[in-house]
């Protein structure tokens, strides 16, 4: 072979040579990702209950109801209320997450003794399962027996009823989610921080710039690519908020923490309305897609690429 390394494929022959290596991933992608996506779109156009056998011929003809699921969802109040709850979560979660991740990244970017240990410690919550984490948080946030309220009592503050209170249930979930995710995004921002050339800081301090100015004028602008990534990914994940809600509050109290995916799950697997749930999930997809599209086009305005 006389091709240059990394040159693009030039012929069908190259493709044929590459295909056995691509096959496992492509087949997995097709069967477990693409096929279900297409099927779920088709299911969203039916009134399937999730229990009747799906692979029967003539199924689609029998159950087809067109866009009726979508109409029902959009005209009912529940969709908008639940979207509002999800939006409330995002508005609280994203800023707090960004601040905490940035803080962690900055703390871990210095080299002092034991920094490696701290990097592991902050990442451990990311690795734990949400089942374990949510159960522990349920206990920690107990209004009478949890340590949070016990500690607050030492300072003479009467802690709220956290997960049992309508006002504090969603903030509780935000706190638990930030605890779990800040290690992951912190690590991403850490690598972004470490990619900033030290010379910039030296030059700036020679010119007399203080710590805050150095942060605002050098660190942040050069960090924007990583920040952009964190923003896009965390927004996509925030819209899909699910395990912590199911375990910590199950949508309560009084529906204060009912969110999009929680509704999808209940409609699909508890109320036997799979077609409705599929339509719901496609509407969620459209919303996430729109936001991501917005972010990608806003990229040009605030993200600085290049060294």
């Amino acid at each position: 072979m006389t091709r240059k390394k990394n040159a693009p494929l030039r012929s069908m022959r190259d493709l044929m040579r590459a295909s056995p290596f691509l096959l496992p991933s492509v087949v997995g992608l097709a069967v477990f990702s693409l096929m279900p996506i297409v099927l779920s779109l088709l299911i969203s156009l039916t009134d399937w209950n999730g229990l009747d056998k799906l692979a029967v011929s003539g199924f689609f003809a029998d159950h087809f109801i067109g866009l009726q699921n979508y109409k029902e969802i959009l005209s009912g109040g529940e969709f908008w209320r639940v979207l509002g709850n999800t939006g409330y979560f995002i508005v609280l979660y994203l800023p707090l997450l960004l601040i905490c991740s940035l803080g962690i990244a900055w703390l871990l970017s210095k080299s002092y003794r034991g920094v490696g240990v701290f990097r592991v410690l902050y990442y451990i919550p990311v690795l734990t399962s949400w089942i374990a984490g949510a159960l522990i948080f349920r206990w920690v946030l107990s209004s009478k027996f949890g340590i949070v309220n016990n500690i607050l009592e030492i300072f003479g503050i009467q802690g709220p009823a956290w997960l049992q209170s309508e006002q504090w249930a969603m903030p509780s979930i935000v706190l638990a989610s930030v605890w779990k995710d800040m290690g992951f995004y912190g690590l991403i921002l850490l690598s972004g921080l470490q990619g900033i050339d030290k010379n910039y800081y030296e030059a700036a301090s020679i010119d007399g710039a203080g710590a805050w100015k150095r942060f605002w004028r050098i660190t942040l602008p050069l960090l924007t690519p990583s920040l952009f990534f964190v923003l896009v990914v965390s927004l996509i994940n925030a819209f899909q908020l699910f395990p912590q809600v199911m375990i910590m509050t199950d949508g309560g109290p009084n529906g204060a923490t009912q969110v999009m995916v929680e509704r999808i799950y209940k409609y699909g697997f508890r109320y036997y309305e799979m077609g409705y749930a599929a339509a719901f999930s496609w509407l969620l997809f459209i919303i996430i897609f729109a936001f991501t599209r917005l972010q990608l086009s806003a990229q040009k305005r605030w993200v600085h690429y290049g060294s």
């Binding site: 997995g28 229990l51 692979a55 349920r138 009478k144 027996f145 309508e166 009084n254 109320y271 036997y272």
Partner: protein, 435 residues
């Protein structure tokens, strides 16, 4: 040489992917070839088929401690029917229904499996269950049997039943100077006792009856009301009887506070409260006996649940059903009939302290009375005289979630009970089509 090796490795990986997919379909293929001759014999003969048959059975009730009891039942069964082999699968309750739904929809459901009352209506309405015929069901409790009979067709056999009794803390009653509850008590008597116990201190509560759909339909029956009308064509949740029932449940929390609010609960569940010794009374299932016997370091006993204008007690039962697509339906029916009605299985169930078999044989049931705490086990059988079966409709889960959410709203004090029940009635009518 290296290139060939790399190619071979890639091919192996690709084959592994396909191989995994192929494996799961193999057992199905096997079953088809061995059961072709069975296809004709579906309901006629009362005997099990003579050829060797393997059936699959899935359940949730045995999970968490009773897997060995179930295995012992199978061993007894296999002795009587050596030609029928049962592959038993036990799955935890929380995952059971999600995966069962997927299996039924995908056509890979087992020959027979277990369902609870809540989901039984949905499954039977979708036509995925086979009619149970050709087995002798005379040894089975008729009330339990009728719960799984839809329009004259028997779709399930009750494998067990359990009910709800009032469990009370004798030491707290002594401390408050109140007489122990008797079978003649009404909720007014219980309320007086609860208030006396509540007065013992800030941390003490008189009673804890969860304000959920499951409690509500029973209490409504105790007031002479019901969630649906007689022929199940309309909801009646805002009838005066239902509102009175909801009021009693809610006012325990909001007015007399003999029951803790969610904030006062502090995240502790109702059983935890009782086991801590700070709760006077709790109406809960008989499946709590083992846990309470192990963990309560005070004296406790049980009594039939008080009523109001009449008594009504919960009746829970899990059914064994047969897959309509099963090619070994007769063998499956023989197995589940054994589980549900044979004296051997019943005795094993009782001895293990599992739950009660839904049989009519009094002598077998009598051994339940000798199992240890609580002393007044007779109350479990006395409660059978006042059974209320939950109102079963197709959209059971949706109905129960809607009712529970409105009851919760009333209990939080956000709306009045009357308003909550009117809202509930409206939402039920708008969301669920009946009859």
């Amino acid at each position: 040489m290296k290139k060939t090796l790399a190619l071979l490795l890639a091919l192996c990986m690709a084959i592994a992917v396909f191989g995994c997919a192929a494996q799961t379909t193999e057992p199905a293929a096997e079953e088809e070839t061995t059961t072709q001759p069975e296809a004709a014999v579906v309901d006629a003969a009362a005997e099990a088929p003579a050829e060797d048959v393997t059936i699959t059975f899935c359940n949730f009730n045995a999970s968490g401690g009773q897997e060995e009891t179930l295995q012992a039942m199978y061993d007894a069964f296999h002795e009587q029917y050596p030609n029928i082999t049962v592959e038993i699968e036990t799955i935890g309750y929380s995952d059971y229904f999600t995966q069962m739904q997927t299996r039924v929809a995908g056509g890979t459901a087992p020959d027979c499996y277990e369902l609870n009352i809540e989901n039984f209506a949905a499954y039977s309405a979708k036509g995925v269950l086979a009619e149970i015929t050709g087995v002798d069901t005379s040894g089975i409790n008729q009330t339990a049997l009728s719960a799984f009979n839809v329009d004259g067709v028997q779709y399930g056999l009750p494998g067990c039943f359990s009910n709800v009794v009032l469990i009370y803390n004798k030491d707290l009653f002594d401390q408050a100077g109140v007489d122990y509850p008797t079978n003649d008590w009404t909720w007014d008597d219980a309320q007086a006792a609860a208030e006396a116990i509540r007065a013992l201190g800030d941390d003490y509560f008189g009673i804890f009856a969860p304000i959920t759909y499951n409690e509500f339909f029973k209490v409504a029956a105790q007031f002479g009301g019901s969630i649906l009308n007689d022929d199940k064509t309309a909801f009646t949740v805002n009838s005066p009887e239902c509102v009175a029932a909801a009021k009693m449940m809610v006012e325990r929390v909001t007015v007399s506070n003999v029951q803790p609010t969610t904030e006062q609960q502090g995240g502790m569940g109702d059983w935890d409260w009782f086991m801590s010794g700070k709760l006077g009374m709790i109406p809960t299932g008989i499946w709590a006996f083992n846990t309470f016997a192990e963990n309560c370091d005070f004296n406790w006993d049980i009594v039939v649940e008080p009523g109001m204008t009449q008594k009504a007690t919960h009746f829970f039962s899990n059914a064994y059903v047969v897959n309509a697509e099963s090619e070994n339906a007769q063998a499956a029916m023989t197995w589940i009939n054994f589980l549900a009605s044979s004296p051997e299985a019943a005795q094993l169930r009782i001895d293990a302290g599992w739950d009660l078999p839904a049989i009519t044989d009094e002598s077998v049931l009598a051994t339940y009375l000798d199992l240890g705490l609580p002393a007044n086990r007779q109350a479990v059988f006395d409660s059978l005289n006042y059974l209320t079966i939950p109102p079963i409709i197709e959209e059971n889960s949706l109905m129960s979630d809607i009712i529970t959410s409105h009851l919760e709203e009333a209990a939080s004090g956000a709306v009045s009970v009357e308003q909550a029940m009117d809202d509930c009635q409206a939402e039920l009518e708008a969301t669920i089509q009946l009859g």
